[in-house]
């Protein structure tokens, strides 16, 4: 048995977006995991040595390539095995000392869990599409619950955190230009409003499962694009898998073609 039609298309969209995000920073991770981490391991007494073992992180980083077999031949067995490989790889990356600090692996983990659900759920179930779309939107929303609530503190609402993180410390466009053009007080005032807008937008993203599907998708699309545009291109690694889930909602949610 194999996936076909829009189910196969949705699977391929999510997996390819996932892989794009996962390997977007390969230029950083390949030399780090196969070179630096192997020659100069990083450890801590707080965690077992396994969590710093370079080979574990390196294997977890390249293993997802195996899912391409399921993309080309979307047989149920390949789809299930591939989805599990993605979830296990992302889970390892979330806890390994070489990779734990990158949000890419958290969004990848939750997206991979959706793929595991997608691979094992019964596609003939009349409620399958409804659950697939709602679960995908829930996974997207979940990524913004912690970040939104975690910013409800004076350092963010006053703009101090954004002022330092973006306006003073970032070297990506447009921040150097802004530093050269505007006084610190002006930038701090802008940072305060930008920070409050981000918190409001993240709270809205966290609430998208409660909204009508098209509105939720529009907010998701705008939100993911703004994250990349206002920070750094490298954040595409964090949002790519979520964009894949949004793509799956579009594909699965459209009316089925009449026979």
């Amino acid at each position: 048995m194999k996936l076909f039609g829009r189910n196969a298309l949705a699977f391929r969209i999510v997996v390819l977006a996932w892989l794009f995000g996962w390997f977007a920073k390969a230029g950083f991770y390949l030399p780090q995991l196969f070179g630096e981490a192997r020659r100069f391991p990083f450890t801590t007494d707080r965690l077992p040595a396994l969590f710093g073992w370079w080979a574990l992180a390196a294997a977890a980083y390249v293993a997802p390539l195996a899912v391409l077999l399921a993309v080309v031949f979307p047989k149920r067995l390949f789809v299930r095995a591939g989805s599990i490989v993605l979830a296990v790889s992302a889970a390892i990356a979330c806890v390994h000392l070489e990779t734990f600090s990158d949000a890419t692996f958290v969004t990848s983990l939750w997206t991979a869990l959706w793929l595991v659900w997608f691979a094992f759920a019964t596609h003939d179930d009349p409620s399958f599409v409804r659950h697939a779309c709602l679960l995908a939107q829930c996974v997207i929303a979940l990524q913004f619950v912690g970040p939104a609530l975690g910013k409800l503190t004076r350092e963010y609402t006053s703009g101090d955190a954004f002022y330092h993180l973006y306006f003073l410390q970032k070297d990506d466009w447009p921040y150097p230009l802004l530093r050269s053009r505007f006084a610190p007080q002006t930038l701090h005032a802008v940072a305060a409003w930008a920070s409050r807008l981000v918190i409001a937008f993240e709270l809205t993203l966290a609430a998208t499962p409660l909204l009508q599907r098209r509105l939720a998708l529009a907010i998701t699309g705008i939100g993911l694009a703004l994250i990349v545009l206002t920070s750094t291109w490298m954040l595409v690694s964090v949002v790519a898998s979520l964009a894949g889930l949004a793509g799956a909602i579009v594909v699965l949610g459209r009316p089925a073609a009449s026979a």
Binding site: T43, L47, H131, L142, G150
Partner: protein, 140 residues
Amino acid sequence: MRTEPITIGFYALIATAALIGFATPVSPALDRALMRAHQLRPASTGEWLALQALPKMYSFAHRAWYSEEPIEPTATPPGEAVWVNHYPARLLRFDHARAMVVRYGYAPHLLLRSSYRGVELSSALTVRIDGRTLQLVEER
């Protein structure tokens, strides 16, 4: 047709993670546990495994101060802080610079301070260089 167990299970997993996120503003104990994860000082391996699956990018305020000398966690911060979006302990991983740290046999000391709605956690950390290994250690 009844909802499949795998579907119920996935909704429950997402709901649990979301509830933990929503508890952040009202649970100082949770905040401290999350700060320990951000500072790479989990109370246990289990705590690390559980908290690492939670989305927490750009949450809490994290500042770091570099020092040439060993530093106390309660010390008055020396000089200007570097603000870090999340996981400030990663500064001591010296990504792509470990060869230099090992060659010099020296790493700076770092004071980390995470804060959120009145809850604060400070750590004084450095790395001990043991052969070619960089081991994260806490200042006593």
